[in-house]
Assembly symmetry: D2
Amino acid sequence: MDFTVSDKMQTILKMINEFVEKELFPLEKEFVKKDFHELLPLIREKQKMVREMELWAPIYPPELGGMGLSMVDHAMVSEALGRSPLGHFVFWCQAPDAGNAEILHMYGTKEQKERWLAPLVKGDIRSCFGMTEPDMPGSNPVMLGTRAVRDGSDYIINGHKWYTTAADGSQFCIVMAVTNPEAPTYAQASMIIVPTDTPGFNLVRNIPVMGHEGTDYASHGEILLQNCRVPAENLLGQEGHGFIMAQDRLGPGRIHHCMRWLGICHRSFDLMCQRANFRKITRDDQTLASRHIVQQWVAESAAEIQSARLMTLHAAWCIDQVGAAKARDEISAIKFYVAGIMQKVIDRALQVHGGLGMTDDTILAYFFRHERAARIYDGADEVHKTAMARRILKRYA
Amino acid sequence: MDFTVSDKMQTILKMINEFVEKELFPLEKEFVKKDFHELLPLIREKQKMVREMELWAPIYPPELGGMGLSMVDHAMVSEALGRSPLGHFVFWCQAPDAGNAEILHMYGTKEQKERWLAPLVKGDIRSCFGMTEPDMPGSNPVMLGTRAVRDGSDYIINGHKWYTTAADGSQFCIVMAVTNPEAPTYAQASMIIVPTDTPGFNLVRNIPVMGHEGTDYASHGEILLQNCRVPAENLLGQEGHGFIMAQDRLGPGRIHHCMRWLGICHRSFDLMCQRANFRKITRDDQTLASRHIVQQWVAESAAEIQSARLMTLHAAWCIDQVGAAKARDEISAIKFYVAGIMQKVIDRALQVHGGLGMTDDTILAYFFRHERAARIYDGADEVHKTAMARRILKRYA
Amino acid sequence: MDFTVSDKMQTILKMINEFVEKELFPLEKEFVKKDFHELLPLIREKQKMVREMELWAPIYPPELGGMGLSMVDHAMVSEALGRSPLGHFVFWCQAPDAGNAEILHMYGTKEQKERWLAPLVKGDIRSCFGMTEPDMPGSNPVMLGTRAVRDGSDYIINGHKWYTTAADGSQFCIVMAVTNPEAPTYAQASMIIVPTDTPGFNLVRNIPVMGHEGTDYASHGEILLQNCRVPAENLLGQEGHGFIMAQDRLGPGRIHHCMRWLGICHRSFDLMCQRANFRKITRDDQTLASRHIVQQWVAESAAEIQSARLMTLHAAWCIDQVGAAKARDEISAIKFYVAGIMQKVIDRALQVHGGLGMTDDTILAYFFRHERAARIYDGADEVHKTAMARRILKRYA
Amino acid sequence: MDFTVSDKMQTILKMINEFVEKELFPLEKEFVKKDFHELLPLIREKQKMVREMELWAPIYPPELGGMGLSMVDHAMVSEALGRSPLGHFVFWCQAPDAGNAEILHMYGTKEQKERWLAPLVKGDIRSCFGMTEPDMPGSNPVMLGTRAVRDGSDYIINGHKWYTTAADGSQFCIVMAVTNPEAPTYAQASMIIVPTDTPGFNLVRNIPVMGHEGTDYASHGEILLQNCRVPAENLLGQEGHGFIMAQDRLGPGRIHHCMRWLGICHRSFDLMCQRANFRKITRDDQTLASRHIVQQWVAESAAEIQSARLMTLHAAWCIDQVGAAKARDEISAIKFYVAGIMQKVIDRALQVHGGLGMTDDTILAYFFRHERAARIYDGADEVHKTAMARRILKRYA
């Protein structure tokens, strides 16, 4: 057993950490206050710097211009970027583009790669992923209402999607739709590339989430597909393989999210400790840090973050060793475990800040309201616990 | 021991509940989306209906046009109104105006009452209360940086306040300021009425709270008092009595808040149960309500709400019987206890709603982000626990 | 709404509290160390004193020599007695005898009352209640393996019971057995009085619970009924009414238990506060009471106990007003709510005692290990939550 | 980063696991029921088997006949042994002997090693460690009342100890006593070897812990040292170095305990899953395993155990890499974190067992009551959290 981080990774992480602190933390007040699209010019500048440092899209495979990191190293990069809500986007590792690129890389035809993947990894276009449906439990990817029917050399797609993250401003959407309704449950759906300017692909609204509709990348779209016609060559992979391909992006995606959450934990923890040291609460200048209850929160948070971090790195290591399919339990466990700890850590950090914590003068209030979603998306906590427990209990039968 | 609610109160509560459901619930989507001042015309209509039903300002004493309710009955009214974020405002029972009116009623001179109290209870003007300061722990009302210095027949006030709720659009502010810096700690501060158009009374900004600066009543102001000069007759009560008068509003204010939170609990609970019954999660139409974990949340929430409710009603009863000063423990306890339960209940209700819970399509996301403040304002949980425990432990010495 | 306790009850409770403190607390060290039957002579002395004070069996109806208390008053008596594990037994209000007496009083024939009830309420004999079975979920009273078959003028009973509390030394057992296996589920079982010296009624062992088998009243028996023959006139109430009669004892029994647990909470809380004040932890004589984390526990425990207490008294009041059947939700809620709070309060009190808390030098270690059962007997927490939630959710359908 | 376990260790762990399951699990019912000394003959047989398997005292350095394991490997051995309360004793790795042997090995003179260490590692004698005092906070090793005064070539020791684990039947005790009361706080105490048959070394009683005084190894002694005279050559290490030497045993001792607790977690988890699969709760044979709430417990427990395990292995690895002194935070964190998780896991397993869980028919009730001490000994949770937090907060200053 060896917990050593390689020298190379230590160097990369140091560079990223410094960049995030120096270049991105100061942008956050604007980020919280303004529409995302207003921020884009500033973000483009920072992205230019990232390219110049040769840290662009670090989690991508080398053939796509990335660093070809192992899952463990990928994880630590995601953690460093996660300390700011702008980190992943500025370094071009953001969901759902990263996952879409991976799918295109694995399953795309030469033409699909040229048209969609190449500009995507360069940062010239953005994309979205249309899976979740308002009338279906998001946690159950085999329950889909969207249908794609073959009509000559085209597919005609009808359906209703929401929580299509970053649809606003995307050039294409990978849509999950049932193509084979008579097939067995897990073989009914396919992935189809739908350019967002296709007639019948309607972005109804950016969903108002926690008080904001958002814009551009920082938004979640509700989409109506109404007789939306795309050529059959836009099928990604094989018909009926949609669910299997979705599973492929799950393992790495989970690591990605969990380590991003750990970045948020680190940031919140830092802010908590700094505030506790700074805030005077008595006339003789005792600080919040002198209070045992604050100390309990510091110690508990440190322990919980450490435990969640090791668990996620271990899950990443399992994926590196045996693949995501055999690491299902490890991957399920981190989903709910890390999300739960993040919520606790943010909550304590906010409480230590008192009234200030409720304001947008720190990033904590943003974390508090938006990261609440972590316990819901990609399968609610309860769904993962149930699935994981059933597998475990079977082994005891 | 008798938990009966009088027939009269049952009738009043029924009227309020129906009005809130029928007239206010439908306004909430606008409330969450728009600036408060845009909503004012609609709100004025509803307020007119309330006056016509003779339910205007029900918690005020009869001589101010209210119903002269006992604290227990007052509590139940606040609970009913709390189910909507618009309830208290539409029925004109909202903080901080209710507390300010009470202070003016108890301590105001005839002239002060005529000029400020009369239009306030009628709903013609609004007011704010300037106590909390950004550089001082909000939980410690004896630590104030604001100074009011006597200069001839005037006071000149300098200081920095924030979280001055509803300052935007208020006609006057009751400012807590140190007038007697040499006096013992609890006798240093006074309350002074400051018209908001006084030169030197500067509303710097509406603080951005959980993503929104808000407007008008739905805002929290940051205020700089810079050589702000008001006539000495604006002193409210006696010099040095500011802290004692602030305590007076504490007991009833606490009941008011806690029962409002219980209203939020009821609302969240209702939404949770309705959603659990409605949301199908399997192909054979099983609902979330069939899941034991959801059932656990329903049962636990019901029990917790009931326990918190009885505790708050008991504290109200104690105030009715022996006064707020002798009911300090009861009042401290509900502050943190009810706030904690509210946060849990909202969190569960949101989780049951899944992705929908994160959106502003229900009121839950608003409750989730804004009512987080309940564990902070009027003294953070930890401050109340410490104060209460010290009193208790002394009795065992 | 009125939380006043009558003068009469205040006097009774004061007498009980003083007696428990002065006469019973000192016995506890022996109680924890010795077999219960060794303690009986000492206990008999205390019971004599209770009779002389005319406080014998206070919760019984007047016609049985008790005080005929309302359920609310009964509850407060149980709370006072619960502060010591000897309280209920010394005042002769202990389970399962109190419940058995109630059943006999309500359903017994004249002969049954003369033979069993009269000596039971006088304290001349003891009894047990044979319901729970090792092979059946204790939480489901309609799943019973024990069979009673009519044979001429007798019943022949076969079955396997356990957790038959206080079987050791009992003169009779009220056995729940299926008499009508073809009847609808809730009409299959009957209650039959079985003298414990009946051939075929075999006390296999006192179950070792938390390290001790116990003796006499302080024990839980495992019983094999092997062709155990009793005359048909030992049937209690009507054939097939066993389940309904069992429900009758449920409401009051629940109040009884919950208030006993609250007595345990009060005792543990007192010990915690006393220890916190006493225990020095630094060279300059600071005590545990000066630590904020201990203060948090004190405040949280005080609030939780208060909330649980009011909830239980309210449930008792509901039983007084509308009967147990209509107060099912209130009764379900207190079962799991109060048990959970008791476990937390005991745990904190133990922690404040450090190593001492693990020893039998205080009563806390006894409470910690034995009262863990509160979350299990009479239906596990989870069972009550599920049942209660289903009733609630139905109302939202 | 590499989580691989070496082939050699996998083999050793497999052997230990099988032995523990096959030979020790069946002894546990006797262990719970009988005095430990009655069990000794049976235990000796098992120890003989362990020697024959060449697994005797595996955690000792090779020069003491052990395997010279790294701290990480040592940790995994302790985990495997911890699944049974008899594991460590049968494999001769039990506290406090293991720690005492280590101290003697590091600091003992040749004569001390011959007389005490040699028979100790062979299993011919046992020992105890006299540190904790009833009148001093156990968590503060620099507060000691015991005094050792030099008198000619002897020390005369007076003091009062308790929780001297396994004193009953020990041949010697390493006593912590103040020898240099004028020295700085951390340089006042020394360790002195006191043969237990020395006049003035009085084992007052075995402390009754959770209902049992215990005997022999399974006991905690209260000891009065009354003018207890030992030759000065019994001093272990140097005068005034007692505290530093105690720290030396801390790091490894902590790993040892935490991994033992993880063994208890694994065992409890296994029992929970087995019971959930076995226990039928409906007439159509649904089991507890089908209940979502049980599934939540299974998944949460699995995740928590995994997180605690990785954290402890990481702390062990840090000790291997940089020594215990530099791994203080890692070592503090596991103390409270693992203890807390163990308590939760045991509690859930017990709850799943229902009434059976309260009995001594499984090992869970033993774990429940005795392992509650984990949050207290070697420094209560709160003490570790405070110490750890203060170090962390300083880094942010």
